[in-house]
Homo-oligomer: 149 residues x 2
DNA sequence: AAAATAAAAGACTAAATTGTCCTTTAATAT
DNA sequence: ATATTAAAGGACAATTTAGTCTTTTATTTT
């Protein structure tokens, strides 16, 4: 569904959001540990999120990544996905057309409703909703079936 | 959403189905022309579909690809996708877990309904439905925004 | 039987994605 | 000031996906 970069990025962002809500910064080491993802690769992804203005970072001791409460409330999954995947989920076609324009792919009609629902979901789900659930212990950020031998 | 191989494969299969319903075999040249896809790559994909028992093929003049009426009626999009993508869409997680098992990813709850709908759609949409629509002139197999300078 | 046709098969190249490593820069603490 | 810490940055390696090219095999036509 999503690229690895996007998966990792979502997981990291949610962890950072969770920590920021507790007034804590999250360091790379910590993020990588709690998500079980490749450190150097995650560093790149975090960098991208900082560049995009989604996360903020400070260097040095006591440094790490954070995200403001305003952003936690306002940033939607769609923005995260767009930052990490580009246009791949931006109002586009299931079968690879650039957009569902004038002429339409063979799956357009069958999947129209489903697609609207999915894009709506991405557009309406805030980081806050997701991070809150995580704080309540619903859901995990680290998967056994991934890396980590 | 889907890989190129899968996109191309779906488009090709639908064209072959359309032609088979008219009692015509479809050759690679023709398929490539009508879908606007890279010929040699499409050949690989068609081969895979033949191996999977979805399409049949005959060599030599008057040869080409076909699909039986029974298969047109019974094969669902899910089978096609599974053949061309492996398990990537097989009852699995939006965020990359192998399956929505005991512990669940942060998107599981929000997207559960949507995902069920999508998997249901893949499972319930037959080639016949899609090919019929194409025969009626609804939908296109060749995209301007793709290759083909 | 030969010539022509079209799929099968396999080896290969190109590009994108994923992942690693190593150096630099900024912040803090001693 | 200097040593330490942690992110930033860039160059690289590995893997996967996408795409090409060339030869072989099966079928049909002449
Ligand atoms: S044209 Fe393909 S989903 Fe709309
Ligand atoms: S666990 Fe991720 S969608 Fe179910």
């Amino acid at each position: 569904m999503f690229s690895k970069a996007c998966e990792y990025g979502i997981r990291a962002t949610l962890y950072v959001a969770m920590q920021s809500m507790e007034g804590q910064r999250a360091g790379l080491r910590e993020i990588v540990d709690v998500t079980g993802t490749p450190a150097a690769y995650m560093a790149k992804i975090l960098q991208k999120l900082v560049h995009a203005g989604i996360l903020d970072s400070v260097r040095g001791p006591v440094g790490g990544f954070g995200i403001s409460r305003i952003k936690i409330d306002n940033i939607r999954l769609a923005e995260l996905v767009h930052t990490l995947e580009g246009d791949r989920f931006q109002g586009t076609c299931l079968l690879g057309k650039k957009s569902c324009g004038d002429t339409v792919c063979p799956l357009h009609n069958e999947f129209l409703e489903m697609k609207e629902e999915m894009l709506g979901m991405l557009e309406n789900t805030s980081l806050f909703e997701l991070a809150s659930q995580l704080s309540l212990g619903l859901g995990t950020l680290k998967y056994r079936d991934e890396g980590e031998t």
